[in-house]
Symmetry: C5
């Protein structure tokens, strides 16, 4: 998640440097051609590139909307995971009669819930899903994970088996079992929603056509302005194109919010928050620290 | 689902080749008429076609939004099917006391759930809904499917009958029955939602009017530019029209996401993911491979 | 529901013929005035009508969005009715122990559910709500309908009474009763949602102001173009206005999706689909045929 | 709710008469200044006001969208109240064993539900919330209302107490109690949603800035057009500004849908519909008439 | 929440004074450079800044939409808190048999619910979350809060423990326990949603690029207008830029609705409303007064 403090110029420039070089070249070549072969070149009315620029703004506006919606939807999914993780622990504490045996059982399930959050975040980002969660899982449970491709789903299965065990040993009746199952269904839903956003490519054709129109805009604008001194024309061309490209790039990054990029949904920091909350709900006082933000973003 | 890697030029060109030929013809004829009959032709101010172009951008933006929303809604429905299929198997494992008889029963229901996903995807795409799912269904169940028009609905009916059987034989009480019924209601909902998107034509009038305005734009633009050399005018006309047509075509394909086209929701690949997940939840180690994407798309 | 095949020219022309005549008259009169009284008339810069045209496009875009959303919401409501009708029958079959008495009871409720769908569709369209559903209802139930203004609501009441009877005669316990009640609540919701869309007029002021601006556009454009030959000016005026009016008219028709018009949500065809589905779920082989589409639409 | 029939010219004119007078004055003064002090005045290119006009259209489009969404959300809330009121009565009839004592109890609760609808509508509109509902409430219940600020909430409390009584006297078990409680929770939700829309002012800054830009548009347009005869310039100025102001005013009225205005959600008429429906569900034949619409609206 | 009455000029001016000074400086410097170095400066066609202005309007429209949606979502979350707080108290009163012991218990839980609302609002705004709620909590409960970072979550945990106690002492069976748990899950959800909106920064890149384009607009406009008298040019520049900046600033403030600013969601006033409602539901007559609005806003 990008913070509000401001973003380094280097970071912004880095995002579009290749595009700017292409645009500089296209602008220069068109300008030279239009200057040295002026008699063969048409009189391009400024209205044409300006109209293309308006069209680009309208299409960008669509792109920004949809990308922002994907990013916000991903954030909502992680918000729901926060809420259901907390509710899950509160429900266990409320549904099981208070004694030492259940306290151990609650701790085991609560720790696995923390592990599930870290594991899901890492698996979405294509990192090792099991890194750093060994201490939160029982030895036997860790072993069972190995034969599963989808680790977070396997952890949910361990939850359901443990809850079945609670019912079979009469620590919980079937009504509370069903109510806890509702929470697990919601967690399974949130997991699937995050996977959906992660695995579904935003229709890439729009992006290609948008780039195509931006270059068409650059070419027509540089023909239309070829009676202006090149020392004024090129910066103007670059500045306007840069504005379009920067917005397009921002939208492009937002639309995939689990790629280990500064514009990501901050899944690590959110999982840490859940970690802290759940440990305090268990009455522990030795809790980890919140994730510290980087210079200008928080992962 | 189109991938991000880039799309072959041939594919893009193929999508709009007839439209481009029409536009070339319309542009040429208008230009010739305007040149040879200049005295009878009005002075067309460039403002007119440019205004039409802006109007087209605005209407396209509406079209893109609605088409994207349909496609994303279809993708959400298939995401819900993933989630509920997983939850269904987890619930069966959690609700039935662990022994060999129930393990068989769970396997039967889980395999039928996998079959249901393949069957629904194929029936939405107008393919043979039963192809490749014979091994996942019992002989008797396959026979019962024949008298049904809507095969996926018939499979859901078999689920409900089996779950009733579990209650009648006291393997499950009525509370768990009702909770499983909730999952079946959600699956029935998702099926109906996919059918709705598939069977409801996007209001076709918008599309016709949009094409009408694009041609009006081409005619007025080629009159307005008829003092420009035809060798510059025609490419410009084609490039701008191509941009509009490509975006319109992309939107048109997105709005029907179950048509066996590269821009489809990747129902086969998603059903395969469910297949793999469910088999691993059953503890099987011999699972099928994920669907491999084509050059630039995944079905 | 309009089909994708294309719409007859006559149908489209019919929709806006009076408006086109008005616009022709306004254009002609303005043009004549501006020609014969040129000295009293201002020089109208083309920028003014063009700006009005852009404003019209933006406002039309709002109108199209909201109308489409109403239409799609109506379609979703009917989709939910399909899903809950199927689920209702599946639930009855799963919740009642299988024997002849319950089979009769299930058939009675399932037939009434089919009748409810036809009845709701016809009552929304202002047709006789009871036409063609006599065979699906018991004699006694039909009699009770007479004293009710809202026939579909009365049918739902008969459902609730029958389900109460099942509980009172111990064919079903209270948990299953409550679960069936959830389905009836959803059906009652869908009915109310369809009635809401049908009875709530889209704010009519927007429509009047939009027409007002379109005429302002026509007047200013025909003054601005009055140095163009009238034989070119009038068709241009008519074509641009026609584009606006056609889009406005399409939006206007979409916004009221239960008016017995080609752009309606196809409630009859959907009710027939439910009819076929439910009869096949009951094991009947003699089912009605799907509703055949008209030349270019399906009601 | 405004009807589709058309709106009296007087009503529309009334809505914006003061604004039009201001605009007339501003236009006149600017024009006079620009005429008598022409040498000090700049040459205002028409592009400036035209660009402002386009900006106004875009901002108005945002305003229209959000206002319409508020109004439609308010309408949905009242639709949910219709649905849950009907479901509430159907549930009572289905959950209580049929005999005379329960029939009295159902009537008492059903009448109170009717009263709740009238009372909520009147309290949202700032009218006396208890007017006209005396006959629908028991003497004792009416007395208890006095010490409550929020009358509809107090009526809901009376519902919960009566339903508790039904459980305590064993007329209903706890499952049905919980299911009825679900309905009351939804009614409480709908009440809160309507209160939220009513008490939350739409961000007023947008409105002020929009007015500010409209006046900037009027001033720049009247300078730009000051070489046009004032007899043509002023009507044009007024007509274009009127279009903007009318749309802004319509949006402004829609955004507060419970203010006793013609554009309100028709809460009185909807409450009457509930009244009629519920009485017919109770088997009464002497039901009130639907609310008759005014000339061009329905409250 | 800003009220409708009008906003002081000072407040509006204050919001953008620094930006206006920058724009004044940029405009002046560009104008001077363009005047004294006219031969080196290009002829800037007015179309360029006007096109940039249109692009700014379109991008602002996106920004306004998303900011408004965030603000309205935050308002909805607080609306849900109102509804569930009321329902929670009504459920307690309906689920517990009426006697003195339960009355005390209900009062304790209801007071804690009031405290939770104040506490959550204050913690979202970064104020001391426990201020002013001491009287609403038991001594022992207050002590337990100290070791928790997230105070509102700790209060919810105390709710769940108390409700468990009610079940363990047989004052409530497991069905009612589960139904109350549903309400607590919804409250936990609303809390998490408010935290999500509060902690997630709106993608800041859009904002920087928007400012960048606004300055590009100012520079190009002041070059384009440099043949206009500076005494007319500068005010025009400032007024148009002010309009853009004011709208951007309004959107910026709306997007973070829990920052102790006049445009905030009025969480204090809403918590007070809940306080009054709950006390009247408990039968108390000595209730606090509603929060009085400030001159032009309500916190």
């Amino acid at each position: 998640m990008l913070l509000d403090k401001g973003i380094s110029v280097a970071y912004i420039f880095n995002k579009i440097k290749y595009d700017l070089v292409y645009i500089l070249l296209v602008g220069l070549i068109t300008n030279l051609l239009a200057t040295y072969a002026r008699q063969y070149f048409p009189e391009m009315p400024l209205t044409i590139p300006v109209f293309l620029g308006t069209a680009i703004s309208i299409l960008l506006s669509f792109k920004m909307n949809q990308s922002y919606d994907r990013w916000w939807e991903a954030r909502k999914v992680w918000g729901a995971i926060v809420n259901d993780s907390r509710s899950f622990v509160l429900q266990l504490q409320s549904f099981l009669d208070p004694n030492e045996a259940t306290a151990n059982c609650i701790q085991k399930l609560a720790y696995r819930q923390i592990a599930w959050c870290y594991c899901l975040g890492q698996s979405l980002r294509g990192l090792n899903p099991l890194e750093g969660i060994e201490d939160l899982l029982m030895e036997a449970d860790r072993a069972k994970l190995l034969q599963h491709t989808n680790k977070p789903l396997a952890l949910l299965q361990q939850h359901t088996v443990d809850i079945q065990e609670l019912r079979l040993t009469n620590k919980m009746d079937v009504f509370r079992h069903v109510q806890l199952d509702n929470t697990l269904v919601r967690l399974c839903d949130s997991m699937g929603k995050a996977e959906r956003i992660n695995s579904t490519v935003f229709p890439s054709t729009y992006r290609h056509f948008l780039h195509f129109i931006i270059y068409l805009f650059v070419v027509t604008l540089s023909i239309a302005l070829n009676n202006v001194e090149i020392i004024f024309e090129l910066p103007l061309l670059l500045l306007i194109s840069a504005a379009f490209l920067l917005i397009e790039k921002s939208a492009y990054h937002l639309q995939d919010p689990f790629r280990n990029r500064p514009s990501d949904v901050s899944v690590t920091a959110i999982a840490r928050t859940i970690d802290i909350n759940i440990r305090q709900l268990l009455g522990e006082s030795d809790v980890p620290l919140p994730v510290k933000p980087n210079d200008y973003y928080l992962l």
